[in-house]
């Protein structure tokens, strides 16, 4: 039993950590987020050069052959810097689906470009009514000649504006909530009938609503078997959920450190506010919140790697704790920073807004606790 990272994982962590320290101070980060793309293309090239974009992909397509621990290591450090580049959208979601659902030909055709930083991708799965149900898909793909015609509306597509290629979840059979009948299609974002509307979320990321109005694709656009996409979607979403929880942990660590540092320097009543026991105990509570979340993350990643029976239960539990303790850490960071905590110029609020966004992605705390309860007590 050990909780040490391998030498390669330590190098990966140091590499991301150094990049964040040297190139991603808060002011720079804000410029990146405010740009038209919502991220820096030059940073993205750097990520490719440093090999980060290859982390989760198999060696057969030129990947690093990493596992969930490797992704966790990268995401935790990215969380510390509030990195806005679309690692989740392009590498983990888009690339992850191709890796899991795609044929050997598709993997070889598409993943090297992802790894090289030449492709931006996005996964269009969510619809206005779907909330956290991956099977709630009304977008339809009708057979048309050798291929398909896609019709429907997707919302909140991460990295949807920058993506050159989209993976679209659409029904080839079945009714709205059915587990069966969902298929994945590779769609050129510039294809006729695709209309994108971009907008920002509170964490600064650029997302898109995308209309598919009779978009035609060939038979080779199908990713995986027709009507059987849900298990692969769920598997990829689980991987991404774990990755987002690692990002959240990095954010929590940064918020706690920033807050303790502030409490040591901010003087009131002639002393540092960190000398007040009422505040000390709140900061101890957030320290424990962070440690508990980290333990749950380690528990989950170990069970996933071991393909243990309780892996999905652990993942639900992890998302519950990220919601519960992430909120506590964020609330206390703002509270202890006082009026400054409310200002847009301070980074604290921005970290909190990213935590709030992560909380709702792929199911909030209440959603995952209900799933956990179903698996455990029913």
């Amino acid at each position: 039993m050990n909780f040490d990272f391998s030498e390669e994982q330590n190098m990966l962590r140091d590499s991301v950590s150094r990049f964040v320290m040297d190139n991603y101070d808060f002011a720079t980060r804000n410029e990146v987020v405010a740009s038209e793309l919502g991220y820096s293309a030059s940073n993205w090239n750097t990520f490719a050069e440093l090999g980060w974009l290859s982390v989760p992909f198999s060696e057969s397509v030129g990947g690093f052959g990493g596992n969930a621990v490797d992704t966790m290591v990268v995401m935790e450090q990215m969380g510390k810097g509030l990195v806005a580049e679309p690692f989740v959208g392009t590498v983990l979601l888009f690339g992850g689906l191709i890796e899991k659902a795609g044929s050997a030909d598709q993997r070889e055709a598409l993943l090297p470009d992802v790894i090289a930083g030449e492709t931006q991708g996005a996964f269009a799965y969510l619809e206005r009514q779907s909330r956290y149900d991956l099977a709630d898909v009304t977008t339809r793909a009708e057979s048309a000649g050798d291929g398909y015609t896609l019709t429907g509306s997707k919302a909140l597509v991460f990295n949807g504006m920058a993506a050159q290629t989209l993976i679209v979840a659409a029904r080839t059979s079945g009714e709205q909530y059915d587990s069966d009948g969902i298929s994945l299609f590779l769609v050129d974002a510039a294809a006729g009938g695709v209309t994108r509307t971009g907008y920002r979320l509170m964490d600064g990321q650029l997302v898109a609503n995308i209309e598919f109005d009779g978009v035609t694709v060939g038979a080779d656009a199908l990713l995986g078997a027709a009507g059987e996409a849900l298990p692969a979607m769920q598997a990829v979403v689980d991987d991404v959920t774990l990755a987002l929880c690692a990002e959240a942990l990095g954010i929590m660590e940064t918020l706690n450190a920033t807050t303790v540092e502030y409490a040591k320097t901010r003087q009131q009543f002639g002393v540092a506010i960190g000398s007040f026991q009422a505040l000390q105990h709140r900061m101890v509570d957030t320290f424990m919140a962070y440690e508990q979340t980290k333990s749950m993350l380690y528990r989950t990643v170990c069970s996933l790697e071991a393909e243990a029976d309780d892996a999905s239960r652990n993942l639900h539990a992890l998302k519950v704790l990220v919601a519960r303790y992430g909120k506590q850490v964020g609330d206390e960071a703002i509270q202890i920073h006082g009026g400054m905590g409310l200002t847009d110029e301070l980074d604290v609020g921005h970290y909190v807004k990213r935590l709030m966004t992560i909380n709702t992605l792929f199911g909030d705390g209440a959603f995952h606790q209900a799933r956990f309860n179903e698996l455990t007590y029913n």
Binding site: M1, A272, Q280, T293, S295, R299, A306, F372, T376
Partner: protein, 393 residues
């Protein structure tokens, strides 16, 4: 990063499981629950563990310990909890024993360790005083040197099972100068020495396990002092972090929570089991999820220990979260018992009403309020983390 057990560990796990299955019988369990037969039965049980070579799990082999790896210790304690079996009484085997083998002289090791190992000697702990609780170092029980004896005067309080004890290990003041942590000495005192009086304290669970121990001109040979005079705080402090780690009670909380969930399957109302009530499920999983995380917090502390570290301030985290969870599980069990949770025990500790667990739940809940107080109150633990981990002054 890997938490899977090795093949050897799995063999060990099976052996431990079988041992508890074979030896921790229902009859033994009943005798342990009965206050009249508790002491004798607990000693018999510990002697059985001693014969097996498993009684001193944390001790080095040269002193009669198991010499287990941390993983083996973790397996052993998890299997013990799953079997519902009690831990050994901590005062001898987990508290004073390690102080004696770490800081005592050879004569003291030869004299005291065998009686601790075979459970012939029942020990109790003389730390807290009426005027020194969380602020332990302000203790005032005085030991004055008179020839080759100390003369001890004062009082200790919250002394668990002093009424059963043959020996007490005490922190006493031998010097009033300098910082209050200096001038404290660590003495081993025979409970049969003239001048010792044990006064029972009945707690809110209706039972008597705690005591006040008075010392009136109690004469203790200097040979019973551990280490140097005035340095006792150092020896006691080494023990406190270990104590905090062990009172987190993660494995016991797992077992207790599983039991509460089982009880909630049979209890209920209007034809529905309590466990199927979504509001109740949320209460349970709020606790269970935190406990799942704490289990790994404990493993992380263990892993750090096995790579050579001593339990540091993280043990305070284990103590705080561990005891909060223990209390939350006790509360849940009371909730499942409903009004039967108010039933009093009969003289031997059984339930007067005939309900299966109401009286037990009440006793555990009421006495369980102690967990966030003893071993250094949770507020004191927060002060420790604040200072030692966060660097807040």
């Amino acid at each position: 990063m890997d938490t899977q057990f090795s093949a050897e560990d799995l063999v060990f796990q099976a052996e431990v499981r079988q041992f508890y299955k074979d030896n921790y019988t229902a009859e033994l369990q009943a005798k342990l629950a009965n206050l009249d037969t508790y002491k004798q039965t607990q000693i018999e049980w510990q002697k059985l563990l001693f014969d097996k070579g498993w009684v001193a799990t944390g001790w080095p082999q040269e002193y009669g310990g198991t010499g287990w790896t941390d993983t083996q210790k973790f397996i052993f304690s998890t299997e013990r909890s799953s079997a519902g079996a009690p831990d050994v009484v901590p005062f001898g085997l987990k508290m004073v024993g390690p102080v004696i083998y770490a800081f005592g002289n050879d004569e003291q090791k030869q004299r005291f360790l065998p009686g601790i190992l075979n459970s012939d000697d029942w020990w109790c702990q003389g730390y807290s005083e009426p005027g020194a609780g969380s602020d332990l170092a302000s203790l005032k029980t005085k030991a004055e040197l008179d020839g080759d004896e100390y003369v001890v005067n004062g009082a200790k309080i919250w002394t668990s099972y002093a009424q059963y004890a043959d020996w007490i290990f005490c922190l006493v003041r031998t010097n009033n100068e300098g910082k209050k942590q200096q001038g404290i000495s660590f003495l081993l005192i025979d409970m049969n020495t003239p001048g010792i009086k044990v006064n029972p304290i009945v707690t809110i669970d209706g039972h008597h396990s705690l005591n006040e121990v008075e010392f009136n001109d109690v004469r203790v040979p200097v040979a019973n002092r551990i280490g140097e005079q005035d340095k006792g705080w150092t020896y006691a402090k080494a023990l406190l972090a270990h104590e905090r780690t062990s009172i987190a009670g993660v494995a016991d909380s797992k077992k207790n929570l599983a039991q509460v969930i089982e009880l909630a399957r049979t209890e209920g109302g209007s034809g529905r089991s309590l466990i199927n009530d979504p509001a109740f499920q949320k209460q349970v999983s709020d606790i269970e999820i935190d406990l799942m995380a704490l289990e790994f917090t404990e493993l992380r502390v263990l892993a750090a220990l096995s790579s050579g570290g001593a339990p540091g301030p993280e043990s305070s985290l284990l103590k705080i979260k561990g005891t909060e969870i223990q209390q939350a599980v006790q509360e849940l069990r009371m909730q499942v018992a409903g009004t039967f949770g108010g039933v009093l025990s009969d003289e031997s500790g059984g339930d007067i009403s005939g309900h299966e667990f109401g009286s037990d739940a009440r006793r555990a809940y009421m006495y369980g309020r102690a967990t966030t107080i003893y071993g250094g109150s949770n507020e004191v633990q927060k002060n420790i983390i604040s200072k030692a981990v966060l660097g807040l002054g």
